[in-house]
């Protein structure tokens, strides 16, 4: 989306040789991206391999990391449980840690939001977007979040206003801004289309 400066930029994940500890966080299709990073980390020093941890959330219960013989892999059913564990790990993590995040955009956004509370900067975090482009939308009127939004217009989960989903992204809130779309003529809505799938 050219011209929207706030819109996050993602890139294929690559292992960072400069890092000392590596924390990989993935969801769903992001598992394949993490595998790629793990294969690179395996070629680094044995110490980096020992200092590697994976947190992976998937609905399908499969473990794509089974064959790697990695000590520290934790699997979760959903993102919330994963984030809770990630917070506990970051609490006792040391300088020299790198984060690798792969998955749908709302998952990346929520992990980044958590990373920011630990003052992790851009040079410590890498992100790759795969899977759904569904958006997390922040209602600028009632401040409720509406998850998994695929349409240009959505009904707010908090105040039921019809919101236009904007391209303006807030890293602090890890969400796109939603602004009332029918303020001047209540009930008159532009066509609703699925555009973020």
């Amino acid at each position: 989306m050219p011209g929207v400066k706030s819109k996050p930029v993602y890139a294929p994940l690559e292992a960072d040789r400069g890092g000392r500890y590596h924390l990989l966080l993935g969801m769903g299709e992001g598992g394949a991206c993490l595998l790629r990073v793990l294969h690179q980390l395996q070629t680094f020093s044995p110490a980096s391999w020992q200092n590697t941890q994976v947190l992976f959330a998937s609905a399908t219960k499969d473990n794509p990391f089974d064959d790697l013989g990695l000590q520290s892999v934790a699997l979760f059913d959903d993102g919330a449980a994963l984030l809770e564990r990630a917070r506990a790990i970051l609490e006792r993590s040391l300088m020299g840690t790198r984060l690798y995040i792969a998955g749908p955009e709302s998952f990346i956004g929520r992990v980044l939001q958590l990373a920011a509370t630990f003052n992790l900067n851009k040079d410590e975090v890498r992100t790759e977007h795969v899977g759904s482009a569904a958006r997390r939308v922040h209602c600028v009127h009632c401040r409720a979040s509406t998850e998994d939004v695929r349409t240009n217009i959505v009904r707010c989960s908090g105040c039921s206003r019809w919101l236009q989903v904007r391209d303006h992204y807030s890293r602090r809130l890890a969400a796109y801004m939603g602004v009332i779309v029918d303020a001047e003529a209540p009930g008159e809505l532009p066509p609703i289309m699925e555009i973020h799938s």
């Binding site: 300088m95 020299g96 790198r98 630990f118 003052n119």
Partner: protein, 320 residues
């Protein structure tokens, strides 16, 4: 505001705090408050010595909450071009000086989760003011201060009063060494490290931190370079159409200023990058002495820092 604009001050106290370091207290002539600053700031002190005018950067070490006076500490440099000797030998209570407004190139990161402050020798000065900013605040910090011996430990009592148990001192004379590897390998996420002192200390902090995986955005350091003595050459200012001779003991910046051309600057110590100037022609090589340009930029020789760098050449043409 033009940061190079100066204001006159009077020296209200002078104290020899170590065999090499003198502590000067400055106040405005009329007693009105001095401009506000934050911890880590420096001022340029303008010294009108007999032979020449010196303009040297010195960190402010007093509390940013007390604007009645500014405090600086000056180490007597063995190979001084005259600035530190002038302050040590000529300046006494009642002397007048001109100073430029404070500029901060070494501020604390406002959203850090922890600050790790490392100082060697007179490099403690900006950190003294940073401690005042940290005092009473919620962010944890540690201060590690390395000196030659107890008699060289400037401001030790003030540091103890402020930092208490968060201060660790290392006396080289007693064989006490700061173990950077141990210190930097054991810091929580979100820590920022700040180093000020001799080149060897700064290089060791930056190098050790990077080796341990610290990203550059968490590593901060400040060291003002002094313009080195070199060979004479000619600088031609293309836009001013003016030829300036650069003698061995004057910097490009000083010589260009003396010729009546104003050059922008904030630090005069090779740190801020304000005086970066394009090189148009060169019949020799540039002798870079700044901490601003990357190694790649230095190799390209397309620009030069007028404050501390010079050239070994006959003629250097500048876009000035």
């Amino acid at each position: 505001m033009n940061p190079a604009q100066t204001l006159p001050v009077v020296v209200t106290a002078v104290e020899q705090v170590t065999p090499l370091i003198k502590h000067f207290t400055l106040a405005s002539l009329g007693g009105e408050p001095l401009p506000a600053f934050s911890g880590g700031s420096h001022i340029i002190v303008v010294m009108h010595a007999q032979a020449r005018t010196h303009r040297n950067p010195y960190s402010l070490l007093g509390s940013p909450r007390c604007l009645d006076t500014y405090e600086i500490a000056v180490r007597r440099m063995e190979q001084s071009r005259g600035g530190s000797h002038y302050l040590h030998d000529e300046i006494e209570v009642g002397s007048r000086l001109d100073i430029a407004h404070p500029v901060n190139l070494f501020g604390l990161d406002k959203i850090a989760r922890k600050h790790l402050l490392i100082a060697g020798g007179v490099g403690i000065t900006p950190i003294l003011a940073q401690l005042e900013d940290l005092h009473d605040g919620p962010i944890p910090y540690e201060l590690h201060y390395a000196v030659r011996s107890p008699q060289h430990a400037a401001f030790a009592q003030r540091l103890r009063d402020r930092a208490g148990e968060r201060l660790t001192m290392y006396h080289d004379s007693a064989g006490q060494r700061l173990d950077l590897g141990r210190l930097l390998s054991n810091q929580p996420l979100g820590t920022h490290v700040y180093a000020c002192g001799p080149a060897g200390l700064i290089d060791a902090v930056v190098g050790t931190a990077r080796n341990l995986g610290w990203p550059d955005s968490h590593i901060h350091w400040e060291r003002f370079a002094a313009p080195p003595v070199g060979e004479a050459f000619e600088a031609y200012l293309a836009r001013s159409q003016l030829s300036v001779r650069i003698p061995p003991d004057r910097s490009l910046m000083e010589s260009i200023e003396a010729a009546g051309v104003e050059v922008p600057y904030l630090c005069r110590g090779g740190v801020c990058g304000f005086c970066q100037t394009r090189v148009l022609e060169l019949d020799g090589e540039l002798l870079h002495n700044d901490h601003f340009l990357s190694d790649a930029d230095k190799a390209r020789a397309a620009s030069i820092m007028l404050c501390v760098s010079r050239a070994r050449c006959k003629r250097l043409v500048l876009d000035l």
